[in-house]
């Protein structure tokens, strides 16, 4: 009896193991019925529809790919990065991942991504040689390309013509630009004027900064010749005289001139709540319904430089993904010259042949050729990507909390900036 029972138990255990192993092996390494998944940091329906249409076209020629899912991860940049990392480490890696510029050094250095160069080089008609070096720099390691810089989106200054007129602004940013007087002081002057009219509208909003995403302030401080850290990434740039002058300018603009809304005050330019905003060109889709008359100009010139700033996103293929080869093939199609041109209406391309106002204008009915030339083409060719560093999330939270004392009317700006360097120096030198 006991013997029989033992046999039964062993049989049950064996069948359970067999069942589990078949369940685990299902799907992995299959050449058919490939289901690709790409995590994306956008909730824009038009952008997702465009992705879907490109994927549908790809599947016609590739019957082995059963589906391509664009997996929307909502939330801000930190939430997106955290979700992506959790998926990668939790055994649920996406086949393709949209990667933000701040995470680029960590992803590229860690070896988590597949080198795309071999796939792109052998794809007929891909023409990888025309990718602009300033755009691929962040994603390159030892001549390998670890993510495709699919969106290279310059920051520009959008302005609401209606609000500016109501506030009695006589010269628009476009006119100031034309006469070579488009400076940070001029921008502050306009913003102060808009905010001073007692209509509850804000002057200038640095979109998504919200006194937390400090890295976006690079759009301001680069004009003053300042940056978060030196080119080698080891020396802190917050306590330099240039940074002090940039941050003092900003502090006065916020707390003395009220040109920018203070901490905790929300105002959305695209809902008509502010006169000016610094935002990436890819946000222009929000103005499709033309809620008001608007214009866009490059970032103003500062005392030291006429510096343009670029935000970037890459698409990479995680090494751990189940279908890395199929994913790289799909990426080569997704970003070939024809599809890059289509994507160009939301995500400015890093391809030299597409980087001219005439070509961009075809996909961007919202902008004039002059705007595309001034903001997009010049921006990408002359601009520098937002600051990034290995361990960027840690550095970001250290800077954020060290900068907090600065966002008060009576703050001691140089002391706060010295505190930032004190906080991040150990992390930078690692």
């Amino acid at each position: 009896m006991a013997y029989q029972r033992a046999r039964l138990l062993i049989a049950a255990a064996l069948s359970a193991v067999a069942l589990a192993s078949t369940a685990c092996s299902g799907g992995a390494g299959d050449d058919q019925n490939i289901a690709l998944r790409m995590t994306v940091w956008t909730t824009d329906k038009n952008q997702l529809a465009l992705f879907d249409s490109i994927a549908a076209e790809y599947r016609k020629a590739h019957p082995e790919v059963a589906s391509v899912k664009f997996d929307v991860v909502p939330g801000d940049t930190s939430a997106y990065s955290a979700a992506l990392t959790t998926q990668l480490s939790g055994g649920n890696p996406p086949d393709l991942a949209w990667i933000l510029e701040r995470d680029a050094p960590d992803f590229v250095q860690s070896g988590a991504l597949t080198d795309l160069k071999p796939t792109l080089d052998k794809t007929a008609g891909y023409n990888a040689g025309e990718l602009v070096p300033s755009a691929t720099k962040l994603w390159t390691k030892d001549s390998g390309l670890y993510a495709y810089p699919f969106s290279t989106s310059p920051f520009g200054m959008f302005y609401n013509k209606n609000l500016l007129t109501q506030a009695g602004v006589t010269e628009t940013p476009d006119q100031l630009l034309a006469s070579g007087r488009w400076t940070w002081d001029a921008a502050k002057q306009i913003a102060t004027q808009v905010a001073a009219r007692d209509t509850g509208k804000a002057g200038l909003v640095v979109r998504e900064f919200e006194y937390k995403q400090w890295v976006l302030l690079a759009s301001v401080w680069r004009g003053f010749g300042a940056d978060a850290w030196g080119p080698d990434g080891k020396t802190c740039g917050f306590a330099t005289p240039e940074m002090t002058s940039a941050m003092t300018f900003l502090h006065q603009a916020i707390f003395t001139d009220k040109a920018l809304p203070g901490p905790g005050t929300t105002a959305d330019f695209f809902a008509g709540e502010s006169g000016l905003t610094i935002a990436q060109i890819s946000r222009a889709g929000l103005l499709k319904a033309k809620p008001f008359e608007w214009g866009i100009v490059p970032l103003p010139a500062g005392p030291k430089a006429n510096a343009q700033v670029i935000g970037q996103a890459g698409i990479g293929v995680p090494v751990k993904g189940k279908h890395a080869k199929a994913a790289a093939d799909f990426l080569a199609f997704f970003t070939d010259p024809a599809n890059s041109a289509k994507l160009g209406q939301y995500f400015p391309p890093a391809r030299d042949s597409l980087l001219n106002a005439a070509t961009l204008a075809k996909a961007n009915p919202l902008f004039s050729q002059e705007q595309l030339q001034n903001v997009v083409v010049n921006g990408i060719k002359t601009g520098a990507v937002l600051p990034s560093h290995t361990g960027s999330a840690r550095i970001a939270s250290l800077v954020q909390s060290a900068l907090d004392p600065m966002w008060k009317p009576d703050a001691n700006v140089p002391a706060a900036l010295a505190g930032v360097c004190q906080a991040i120096d150990p992390a930078l030198s690692q």
């Binding site: 009896m1 930190s78 990065s81 955290a82 990392t85 959790t86 990668l88 480490s89 960590d106 992803f107 860690s110 070896g111 988590a112 006194y211 937390k212 203070g262 901490p263 905790g264 005050t265 929300t266 751990k320 361990g391 999330a393 840690r394 939270s397 250290l398 954020q400 909390s401 060290a402 907090d404 004392p405 966002w407 906080a423």
Partner: protein, 294 residues
């Protein structure tokens, strides 16, 4: 092969507790063991590597300049929340225990936040607490210029505590109410006949009689306070200047934002030990002040 009655009972007992036991092992013991294991590893989430690091992650705790700020924020939050929550819950329970018209309505009103989703509740408060939000607009109508609640050094912590207290006070209130209604009327009458006034009755009769409930609510509120996360994530992200950076939020940041799973896990183990010690302390000290236990 027949089982004795005793054996049959034991088998039935095991069968009954097996599902619960398996769940406990899979979802409590196993993850806990994994966290302890991770806390001795240097994990690189992106590269998928994990190297034994000895006690490095625990040593890091003493070098981390943010750690004292986190300990301070956690202690302030915990003490503030427990004191405010228990005091308010007991006061509400005492008021609602009076036989007055409309008490049922008030009971429902105070309890309703307990059933609201935590994140939804916090997001609504996030709007209200903005500098140009509802609360300051309300204050403006009576001529008061309200502070920037979520950005001020002191007001940020106060806001987070109050939002959390309002969310959960209903639960403790109901527990206190049940305890108050469980006090035999004869004891209250006897104390009245002995000439005890309302304050004396409260201090010498009601408080001792409801002390088992006070112990229970204190234990669950302390444990809950130490585990606060969503409110911080939605309202302050630990700021300004780490003044609301409590331990759970900090280890989330370390593990999932900074990709330092080893250090994050070490912090989680420390939190586990703190909760364990506090709970044991409360349990050991119950004999001193809890009725029925001496």
């Amino acid at each position: 092969m027949t089982l004795t009655a005793r054996r049959r009972d034991a088998l039935a007992g095991w069968i009954f507790i097996t599902p619960q036991l398996l769940g406990f092992l899979a979802f409590v013991v196993a993850p806990l063991a994994a966290v302890v294991w991770y806390s001795f590893q240097d994990v690189n989430l992106l590269a998928g590597t994990s190297v034994f690091a000895g006690a490095d992650n625990y040593a890091k705790l003493f070098d981390d300049p943010t750690a004292p700020k986190v300990a301070r924020a956690t202690a302030i939050f915990c003490v503030g929340l427990v004191v405010l929550n228990l005091a308010l819950a007991l006061s509400l329970a005492l008021l609602l225990n009076l036989k007055l018209r409309g008490t049922t309505v008030f009971r429902t009103v105070f309890f309703s936040p307990v059933v609201v989703t935590l994140v939804a509740w916090t997001i609504v408060w996030n709007f209200l607490l903005q500098d140009n939000g509802g609360i300051n607009a309300l204050l403006q109508t009576i001529g008061v210029d309200g502070p920037n609640w979520l950005r001020g050094n002191g007001t940020a912590m106060l806001s987070v505590i109050v939002v959390q207290v309002l969310k959960n006070v209903g639960l403790n209130m109901v527990l206190f109410l049940a305890a108050l209604q469980g006090i035999p009327a004869s004891i209250m009458e006897a104390s009245q006949l002995d000439g005890a006034g309302p304050w004396r009755r409260f201090r010498s009769v009601i408080l001792p009689m409801i002390s088992p409930t006070t112990l229970l609510t204190a234990i669950i509120t302390v444990a809950g306070a130490l585990q606060v996360f969503a409110q911080i994530q939605v309202l302050t992200l630990g700021g300004p200047a780490d003044s609301t950076n409590v331990l759970v939020f900090y280890f989330y940041q370390q593990a999932f934002a900074n990709h330092d799973l080893g250090y994050g896990s070490a912090l989680a183990v420390v939190l586990f030990l703190v909760i364990l010690v506090l709970t044991l302390l409360q349990w050991r000290m119950r004999k001193r002040w809890v009725f029925h236990e001496s």
